[in-house]
């Protein structure tokens, strides 16, 4: 709370009331201004500043003066104006009343006309309505149907809707000449700027589509916004959106874009450009390009034929080359086989020689052993023979001795000395007189023979 200080006296000599504290005066002023009758003002909107957190500020002017305006941001956004609609110079009608911000010790005061509603006036109003329709059609997806259509690169038949006798016709022909296009061109002349324009254009569109043109150009060489109104017709735009033939529009301004521009497959600034868009390829260039492609293809075809011939020749040579290769391979194999056999024979021979040598050595050893054995045997045989001979001589001598001894005991010798052998009839030697006496017959053997004898009974021993 600041000290109010001593009372301030007024200006000496002044007849005016006061002095009053300025804050009180400012608040009173605000109340007085708010008490003014609320009115509508019309003028050009200028100096629209970017919205603050709560307010939108601009000025309203005409030739006689201007008023600063402020609008609560909520009210402003409720207007649903498309971005860019409020541009400097646009005529608007605002509704509201005076207001005053009294300021404070630290902030400046300001006066403004507090706007509670706003609408665009005149042509601006028309644009706003177009904008609303534009958003509606866009929301329905009608701006994309045409753009999804396939456009032929080389349309054979092009339908053109334009005003009869207008400059657009020449522009169309110029555009097609630039493309060197010389197909079928179907003119559908229609009014393009009066109240009959939209229905006539719509009918022309459907008729051209029914006549199976490949693409339709709607051409018009600019005009005022009112003139372009026909191309913002809702039925016309919906018809275009549902057509199965691509539509190329060339009706708009640089500044005012019609709804047909939005709904069409392509939007161009001039009829000439529209035709170039309808025929995207330059026919002459395409012909040259095609010729070049044909030439290159032909080169490849010729090259491939030559290649094929070479390939066939290679294939023709292939069997004999294969045979030669196989023959060489077989010969090589044979040589290797022979070499291998020779090596094996040589190895076997070496091995056999070695075995032979070993066998020879063994045979020599065996012969030597045999000779030695034979010598030993001969020696032994000789020794045996010598021993046998000695033994035989000894035995012979012994036999002789035995013979002598035996001969000494030979009965024949005894007989020759006069003795006789007595035997019975059976041959049994009778060695006693008794026995002889009991034998009926006796056989007497002498050295020179034998005889039978009968013992005399009276000579028998008693």
């Amino acid at each position: 709370m600041s000290d109010p200080g001593p009372p301030v006296t007024g200006i000496p000599g002044s007849g005016l009331a006061g002095p009053f504290p300025v804050g009180e005066y400012a608040v009173a002023l605000r109340e007085r201004l708010r008490g003014f009758t609320r009115v509508q003002l019309v003028g050009e909107l200028v100096n629209l500043r970017p919205p603050t957190r709560t307010r939108v500020y601009f000025e309203l002017r005409d030739a006689g003066g201007s008023v600063p305006c402020a609008m609560w941001r909520n009210d402003f956004e409720r207007l649903d104006l498309a971005p860019g609609t409020l541009t400097d110079g646009i005529a608007v009608v605002v509704a509201g009343g005076c207001d005053y911000y009294p300021g404070s010790a630290t902030s400046s005061p300001s006066f403004h006309f507090s706007v509670s509603d706003l609408r665009i006036a005149g042509e601006g109003d028309l644009l706003a309505r177009i904008e609303r329709l534009r958003r509606r059609l866009d929301a329905e997806g009608l701006f994309t149907t045409q753009k999804r259509l396939a456009r032929p690169s080389l349309p054979r038949t092009i339908g053109v809707i334009t005003g009869e006798g207008g400059k657009a016709r020449d522009d169309v022909l110029a555009g097609l000449r630039r493309r060197h296009w010389r197909g079928r061109l179907v003119w559908a002349f229609a009014p393009v700027q009066d109240r009959h324009a939209a229905p006539a254009i719509t009918r022309a569109l459907t008729d051209l589509a029914a006549a199976r043109v490949d693409v339709i150009v709607v051409a018009r060489g600019g005009g005022s916004l009112a003139d372009l109104l026909a191309f913002c017709d809702e039925t016309l735009c919906r018809t275009v959106a549902m057509l199965s033939v691509p539509v190329i529009a060339s009706v708009g301004h640089h500044t005012d874009r019609t709804l047909l521009d939005d709904v069409a497959a392509v939007s161009c600034s001039t009829p000439t450009h529209a035709c170039e868009s309808a025929v995207p390829l330059d026919c002459a260039e395409e012909r040259d390009r095609l010729l070049a492609s044909a030439g290159r293809l032909s080169v490849h075809a010729r090259r491939s034929v030559l290649e094929r011939a070479r390939s066939l020749a290679r294939q023709a040579r292939a069997p004999s080359e294969h045979l030669d290769r196989e023959r060489r391979r077989l010969h090589q194999g044979l040589r290797e086989l022979r070499a291998s056999a020779r090596r094996r024979v040589q190895t076997s021979r070496t091995l056999s020689a070695r075995h032979l040598l070993v066998l020879e050595r063994r045979r020599s050893a065996t012969s030597a052993a045999q000779a030695r054995l034979r010598g030993t045997l001969a020696e032994r045989a000789r020794r045996l023979a010598t021993a046998h001979e000695a033994d035989r001589a000894r035995r012979h001598q012994a036999l002789e001795h035995l013979g002598v001894a035996l001969a000494a005991h030979d009965p024949e010798r005894t007989l020759r000395r006069g003795y006789a052998l007595v035997s019975d009839q059976d041959g049994t030697l009778v060695t006693s007189a008794a026995t002889a006496g009991s034998s009926p017959r006796l056989r007497l053997r002498f050295a020179d023979g034998q005889l039978e004898a009968t013992p005399a009974p009276d000579t028998m021993p008693r």
């Binding site: 690169s153 349309p155 719509t202 290159r296 293809l297 491939s304």
Partner: protein, 102 residues
């Protein structure tokens, strides 16, 4: 609902959407597809990677496409023919009437 002037052609949309493309133009590849394929074929041939059989097949295919494209170019290169819509409609109607007698 319509706050904007409308043309009043109630059946316009229905008539417009009942049209169809020319069937003769819808079979086979489009001109651009054909030329793109020709370019692709030539690139393949230029690469030298195609074998003999493939080369011959590509040449054959490319030749066919070139003939098709040439026919397309011929169709729009013979001479500009200008018609009014009513003339074209009359011609089409005359053709339609003649057809059953042929």
């Amino acid at each position: 609902m319509n706050e904007f002037p409308v043309s009043g052609e109630a059946d316009a949309v229905e008539r417009a959407t009942s049209t169809t493309d020319d069937p003769a133009r819808t079979d086979g590849p489009s001109y651009e597809q054909a030329t793109a394929r020709i370019e692709e074929i030539i690139r393949r041939l230029d690469s030298g990677e195609a074998g003999l059989r493939e080369t011959l097949e590509l040449c054959r295919e490319g030749q066919g496409l070139i003939e098709r494209c040439a026919a397309e170019l011929d169709a729009v290169g013979q001479g500009l023919e200008e018609l009014r819509l009513d003339e074209l409609v009359a011609r089409l109607e005359a053709g339609t009437r003649r057809d059953p007698d042929e």
